[in-house]
Symmetry: C2
Subunit: 510 residues, 2 copies
């Protein structure tokens, strides 16, 4: 009857305050107060645009700045460039009629793309950024292609891209009620063809190669420790450290913080986004320790959406299981099962106390054991399954009876699941899979970060721009908000606003 999570081990861990000491030691790099410029005796190096981080945001900024003829420095803390973007699926959310959409026969408009994104973002919709992002989506597609990203002329009809030769698919909640009625759905997931969802590695290899062609050198193994500021608060440069020691790097135009989120900083995660803490896996490269966010905060930058993140609970593929029902611990259906898996994960994690079940019958069961889910029960009747799960008496029976009655007619008056995924649950055995946060696979990452303008300029708590400071990717509070409603929003946001940061910095009179 309670909707409180029962996970003992992870929750206890959460409460004891035990933390990964290694991560915290690294993270403290950013806690030192910013150096005032008067304490900097000399600059060891200088460039126009100085970039912290070499993921999608940092490398896009580097390419854009370098392409505009200015000197660039990129510092990467880890030994390997590419950031968490290289661990992603490499999907970029684009639309409005891209050449690939057109070539594959799909109509789309900027308006439909915008309407969908605004509606799906809910009350946290970053309207100005969404508008710009949609209006310039075609140009952004061209930019990616000009930098070597190759898309195949293959469409995949599956909800999750498992076809290794396809480059376009419906990657989010576009065809789910009520969004399909609010905006004409179009496939907007653009991804380089790749096996086993390694599109992110492919994408980053391509962008890193383009950066190299632009003359950009990524200095790896270099930590950025402090921002150097003038007495009026303007950012003048960065203090960095590597095996050779500490150096002061002057940024004539601007510093771009593109150092990822904080999924690997357990202290920050527990404080700001405790719902994500007990989930596994924490998704991202080891550098996602919130260092860029904290450097910004150290000089008064504002933060937004610190409790947001993606919580991807992949029920599909195969899509056949979506004919089953997802229920909470009261046996009630709570989210349309054909929703994007980030939306399902969000609903269970943030609204249902991190607990729930997927109920299927023989016809809707997985055809092979699914490594991401744990079976919670199996019985010849729904009544027996309900008892096995300890759900309130008659609750699941009532839910399934209601679902079946309408599913037979191809209707779902409760949640509006699409007809393709409607089928009465009638063939025993009936099974339950545990969607509890302590049992199921929840891939999580953080969305909270520094507040920025549409030009990626960092602002303080009063909304004033901090001159010379930019942030992009997951170091900034960008387009991805909770619930995460489509793949490709984070990479799309990172590449787009990384570029915006560079464009604005290059044009800046410092």
């Amino acid at each position: 009857m309670s909707d409180r999570p029962t996970s003992r081990t992870r929750r206890d861990f959460l409460r004891t305050g035990a933390i990964g000491a290694g991560a915290v030691t690294l993270a403290t790099y950013a806690t030192a107060p910013p150096a005032a410029v008067t304490t900097v005796r000399h600059w060891d190096d200088e460039a126009d645009v100085v970039i912290m981080g070499s993921g999608a945001a940092g490398i896009s900024a580097a390419i854009e700045a370098s392409g505009r003829g200015v000197a660039v420095r990129v510092y990467e803390m880890l030994a390997l460039a590419g950031g968490s973007s290289s661990l992603s699926g490499g999907v970029c959310y684009m639309g409005g009629g891209t050449p690939l959409q057109k070539a594959l026969g799909f109509e789309d408009s900027t308006e439909d793309m915008y309407r969908f994104m605004v509606a799906a973002s809910g009350v946290h919709a970053p309207l100005a950024k969404l508008q710009l992002y949609c209006e310039q989506s075609l140009a952004h597609f061209d930019w990616l292609v000009a930098n070597g990203v190759e898309y195949s002329r293959r469409f995949s009809a599956e909800k999750e891209l498992s076809h290794e030769e396809a480059s376009l698919y419906f990657c989010g909640n576009e065809r789910t009620h009520p969004y399909r009625e609010l905006a004409r759905p179009a496939p907007r997931g653009h991804v380089p063809p790749a096996k086993n969802q390694t599109g992110g590695r492919s994408l980053m290899q391509t962008l890193l190669a383009s950066a190299q062609r632009h003359g950009v050198h990524v200095a790896t193994g270099v930590t950025c420790e402090r921002l150097v500021c003038a007495s009026d608060g303007a950012v003048l440069g960065l203090e960095v450290r590597d095996a050779r020691g500490k150096r002061n790097i002057r940024a004539r135009k601007g510093v771009v913080l593109a150092a990822g989120g904080f999924i690997h900083n357990p202290e920050m995660l527990k404080k700001h986004a405790p719902e994500l803490f007990p989930c596994a896996p924490h998704w991202g490269r080891a550098g996602d320790m919130g260092i860029g966010i904290r450097m910004g905060m150290s000089i008064g930058a504002n933060v937004l959406h610190m409790h947001h993140g993606f919580a991807v609970l992949p029920l599909y593929p195969p899509e056949n299981v979506l004919k089953g029902v997802v229920v909470n611990v009261r046996g009630q259906r709570c989210v349309a099962e054909d929703s994007y898996y980030g939306v399902i994960g969000h609903d269970l994690l943030f609204k249902q106390g991190g607990r729930g079940y997927l109920i299927v019958d023989r016809n809707s069961d997985y055809s092979a054991p699914d490594y991401r889910l744990v079976a919670a029960g199996e019985a010849p009747t729904i009544a027996a399954l309900e008892a096995q799960l300890g759900l309130p008496p008659e609750s699941l029976q009532q839910t399934v009876t209601y679902y079946n009655r309408f599913a037979e007619r191809g209707e779902d008056p409760l949640l509006g699941k699409a007809r393709d995924y409607l089928a009465p649950l009638i063939q025993q055995p009936f099974k339950a899979y545990d969607l509890g946060v302590d049992k199921a696979f929840y891939a999580v990452h953080t969305f909270g970060g520094l507040e920025t303008t549409v030009n990626a300029e960092v602002v303080n708590a009063g909304g004033e721009i901090i001159p010379g400071l930019y942030a992009a990717g997951r170091t900034a509070a960008g387009i991805p908000v909770s619930p995460y409603y489509a793949s490709g929003l984070s990479i799309g946001d990172a590449t787009f606003f990384g570029r915006r940061a560079a464009m604005h910095a290059v044009a800046r009179r410092a």
Copy 2:
């Protein structure tokens, strides 16, 4: 079928970016960068402890500091002292066996109080603060009484204190499932006897009188504009402004930011807690514009729980209506109707998209029209009411049939509502009251603020203490988190940690 709010007017307002210009102008006071101490030519005044704000937190700090023999200054932006605390019910959450609890025959223990508070706080539980708060609750009771707060020896058995002569009642979710099984319930709402829930005015008058006896003068009409810091980041004082102009006030021991939350700063509210924005009323004095929070952030302080707040949706009194059912737009029960009204408001606002209905029959209806709720439908059958409300077909019928079947036996297997509030809904007419955020009374206030230690010291994003800076009350992220599970948590936290700030500052070697 959608669970998105339908409120047009307020949501449109939210999205257009229209804001109360007056509030923002005032709020910009705090956006200037902190002055470095070298720019302060001379101190116009000085004291040991300098306090911004004269609500429960600020005045408790002032009394505590003054009682320890140090010089204190209190600056209040508004013309009237007392802060939003004086608008509150004046309830202070205390337990563990206070003299009043004992005198009225109630057993309580520190452990039960702590267990309840931890369980009810969920994943955001501020454990260290809760432990200290519970351990020192008896001493805090004594302190309030020593400062003139008078409690009557009268208990009220009602869920909301409407008895003007009573001083003790069950003010929260203690007797609700699952909390009643986790910790022995005790009445912990302590409130000075007062008519019409004006206990806050009474409480603040008493504390202000005590402050005056301690020699504390509250300077009203004085805005605090900037923190004055040393080059190492330590806080040395405050820049204030009043009709006579600008002055620099040295704080030998510490500055205490006790300037309330940000419910009256529409820009901050939209950015940080957009769910609260469309609610009405925004509860608090006009000074709650986040100025203290922003001053802290301007020198690198961390913020927590910025999206949290109370959302009090008072269905009761009378408690008789709690025999009805609260349903979401899918016609599903979603929260035990005997929950504390802050928990009901939170569930509807944050989990059900800000929409829902209270369904009653003739026996459970309000005896007189309730000014806080709008009737949404009335019909001779549940089926007809369901159609009137546009709920999914058979959904409400199924919910009520299930509820009735078990309520007849005094059981609520779905949500565990207590037996006293269980009764089958069978007597027509059946009525629905609209609990939509655009229709119902949702009293809201913010809980997010500066991260502090158990000594009310403000910390930066790396968890390091900012020397000389303290925060308490709603300027700090304290004991109240979402969902708000009992009255008296905010005033309790403000008075307790206001005192802690002063104690620590007085003992500090600056």
